[in-house]
């Protein structure tokens, strides 16, 4: 049944939603920051592309690139971006089990167990990459 407006229709109060709705509640703010973090993921992708391009262009170009990377401003931006990407990863891993209910032997596997393999893979791959880079 669609909403029917009749002769006897009282004036409903329709509250407007403010543009700053997302500041009103901690959970909303967390959500918006989570969505925003994808921008920083994109930023790192772009940085990596620049890095590859610099590699291709030879040792001078790469040295230039390294100098830019070492400037305090860029380090500050990268630090913030890194925190956001960390946030992005953790929230993503934690949300994934909702989208994919896993059943073993007729019972639902608890969410943290479904998320656990992602974390384990993350730590393992990070460990391997760190070893490769730092040795």
């Amino acid at each position: 049944m669609a909403t029917r407006y009749t002769d006897f229709h009282p004036r409903w109060y329709r509250p407007t939603v403010s543009v700053y709705w997302w500041l009103g509640q901690r959970q909303y703010l967390k959500f918006i920051l989570r969505e925003l973090s994808s921008v920083f993921v994109a930023y790192f992708v772009v940085m990596t592309l620049f890095q590859l391009s610099a590699l291709k262009d030879g040792p001078d170009a790469y040295a230039d690139f390294q100098r830019t990377m070492q400037s305090p401003v860029v380090i500050a931006i990268n630090a913030i971006a890194f925190l956001f990407v960390l946030f992005h990863t953790i929230t993503w891993f934690n949300l994934a089990p909702s989208a994919m209910p896993v059943r073993l032997g007729g019972k639902r596997v608890p969410a943290f167990l479904v998320a656990a393999p992602s974390y384990v893979m993350w730590i393992v791959i990070s460990a391997i990459v760190s070893w490769l880079v730092l040795r």
Partner: protein, 570 residues
């Protein structure tokens, strides 16, 4: 809902209105927990279900109605399954059934412990498929339009806007439920005020068996929230203040570690409630802020079973009484739960007033007699809902349209509501005061045990309250969603219904099922194997007559439970 669907299926050309003072999913059916009985397994038979029902009802049931009921109940439950109801299942995929108090065999279908919820939502969602059904949600019916000896529709207030209007109809089916809110401690929701019973009573139809009020033996004190019979069916014990399983003192068998059908904690509800009153008189109940209680002990069942079979019970205890049944005792007392009486109908839901039908708790067919067995009321709604829907559709198809005089009555009703409530000045009484006094007097004299002196006192008190009701003052004069007006009208309904209940109780000088007279403790089949029928006189007083019960195949016998029953092969 069931009636509407049945009517739509019988004659899709009819336009069907479902008028309700609340949205459909708020109806009190939603709170029913335990289950719905229907013969489903090969070790069971229709005759056994019928016999359990009739003996449980202390032989006041109309046996032709019961025979029709037990036959159609499994079909209705199956139909609901086909509409998507998520019944619990056996491992092989068939419907699972469980034990229930008063039933000799396992025949109660259930959906976790939210059976009523799933049934109501399945019906509501299925009803959305049918185009002929139009819903008038949050329209409060104040009066039946009766003209020419025929019901021509209703007058209702559209709560949203305050508009008072006639909805004319060739047939009206009342499905408004019971009237538990007449009592102070009840499992019933705020909306159960006997609306349909009062409407029919005022409109000229008769009410039947109004003295039979069923108490559920285990309700939480203060909130009245029901702790389902299933908790006892799964093996809970009832203990008095000394931790003793007191039911063994009241002819209900001997205590066994596991539940045995029809004995001890699985005996019929009225016997359990009566046992409480006796324990209370002996001083063996525990006193609390909200009255005396006994305790329900589920601790020995273990956390795993409680979480699997009784999750809702656990949730209710924790959320509303701050008690965890896994570790603690649950305080319980008898609370008003169901009204066996109601608008008298035949086995097709038709009342003697042409065009008026009724089904469900508001009706008295009667299949519940003097005491209803647990898990019979949900299938009752389905079976008689469908029958009433069908009968009303067939009746309506043969009728001419309602005449204009009905609309004039609607104008009168609007003027009455305005002058008596909305625009009235100078009243001194508050709704809540009168309501609380009504509830107190009903609990005192029309409770589990009754006697003449208290009943007469109550009758006088109710007359006084009716007078004071005319002097009510509303704070709320608004037209928009005026729930105070709604409460006032509901109180008016309750006062009428309460009067009919007390009068019926006064006249029935015997004890049978849920009606126990301390001054007449024996059952008297000679004089009282009959339904009380109460009509409203023009001066507002009640007139009580009797109508014989239909007996087909089961002559009256004694209601026996426990050891005696096992010995006699019942």
């Amino acid at each position: 809902m069931r009636a509407a669907i049945a009517a739509a299926e019988v004659n899709p050309k009819l336009s069907i209105a479902v008028v309700s003072k609340v949205y459909p999913m708020r109806s009190h059916t939603v709170s029913a927990e335990g289950g719905a009985a229907g013969v489903a397994k090969p070790d069971d038979s229709l005759d056994e279900h019928a016999h359990d029902t009739i003996s449980g009802g202390d032989w006041l049931c109309d046996q032709d109605a019961v025979e029709a009921f037990v036959k159609e109940a499994p079909l209705e439950l199956l139909q609901l399954e086909r509409w998507g109801c998520p019944w619990n299942r056996e491992p092989d995929g068939h419907i699972a059934v469980r034990a229930f108090g008063g039933m000799k065999k396992r025949r109660t279908w259930f959906a976790a412990d939210k059976t009523g919820f799933h049934m109501l939502h399945t019906l509501f969602q299925t009803s959305m498929k049918f185009d002929p059904i139009t819903r008038y949600d949050e329209w409060f019916v104040t009066k039946l339009l009766v003209d020419d000896g025929r019901v021509q529709g209703v007058v209702a207030i559209e709560l949203m806007s305050g508009r008072i209007q006639a909805i004319t109809a060739k047939a009206v089916i009342l499905c408004t439920g019971g009237c538990g809110r007449i009592f102070p401690f009840t499992t019933n929701a705020n909306i159960k005020n006997g609306d349909g019973m009062a409407l029919a009573y005022r409109g000229g139809a008769s009410l039947r068996d109004m003295e039979f009020v069923q108490y559920h033996p285990t309700g939480l004190p203060f909130t009245g929230i029901l702790i389902t019979e299933a908790a006892r069916a799964e093996g809970g014990y009832m203990l008095n203040k000394d931790g003793y399983r007191y039911l063994q003192d009241y002819n209900l068998g001997t205590p066994e570690p596991k539940p045995v059908l029809r004995t001890m904690e699985l005996g019929p509800r009225d016997r359990l409630s009566q046992a409480f009153v006796h324990e209370d008189r002996k001083g063996r109940t525990t006193s609390t802020e909200y009255g005396s209680v006994v305790h329900l002990d589920l601790r020995h069942l273990g956390e795993k079973l409680i979480n699997a079979k009784l999750p809702f019970v656990r949730e209710l205890c924790q959320k509303y009484q701050n008690v965890d049944p896994v570790k603690e005792l649950i305080p319980v007392r008898p609370v008003v739960h169901y009204m066996m009486g109601g608008v008298g109908t035949d086995i097709n839901g038709a009342t003697p007033l042409a065009g008026l039908f009724a089904a469900g708790e508001v009706a008295c067919v009667s299949i519940n007699g003097a005491n209803r067995l647990g898990s019979n009321s949900l299938p009752e709604c389905l079976v008689f809902g469908a029958r009433a829907g069908k009968a009303a559709a067939e009746y309506a198809s043969t009728q001419s349209a309602p005449n204009g005089k009905a609309l004039a009555q609607a104008d009168d009703e609007r003027r009455r509501l305005e002058s008596e409530f909305l625009n009235k000045t100078g009243g001194k009484e508050r709704i809540a005061t009168i309501r609380i006094e009504m509830q107190a007097t009903m609990e005192k004299s029309a409770g589990i045990y009754r006697e003449e002196a208290l009943l007469s006192e109550s009758a006088n008190k109710l007359r006084e309250l009716q007078e004071r009701y005319r002097d009510i003052n509303l704070d709320d004069r608004s037209r928009t969603f005026n729930t105070e007006l709604e409460s006032a009208l509901e109180l008016g309904f309750m006062l009428d219904v309460a009067e009919s209940m007390v009068q019926c109780a006064l006249h029935r000088t015997e004890s049978r099922g849920a009606h126990q007279r301390m001054d007449y403790p024996a059952r008297d089949d000679h004089k009282f194997l009959a339904h009380s029928v109460v009509h409203r006189n023009t001066d507002g007083t009640a007139r009580v007559d009797y109508q014989a019960v239909t007996i087909t195949r089961w002559p009256p016998a004694e209601r026996i439970y426990g050891q005696q029953a096992a010995q006699q092969g019942h």
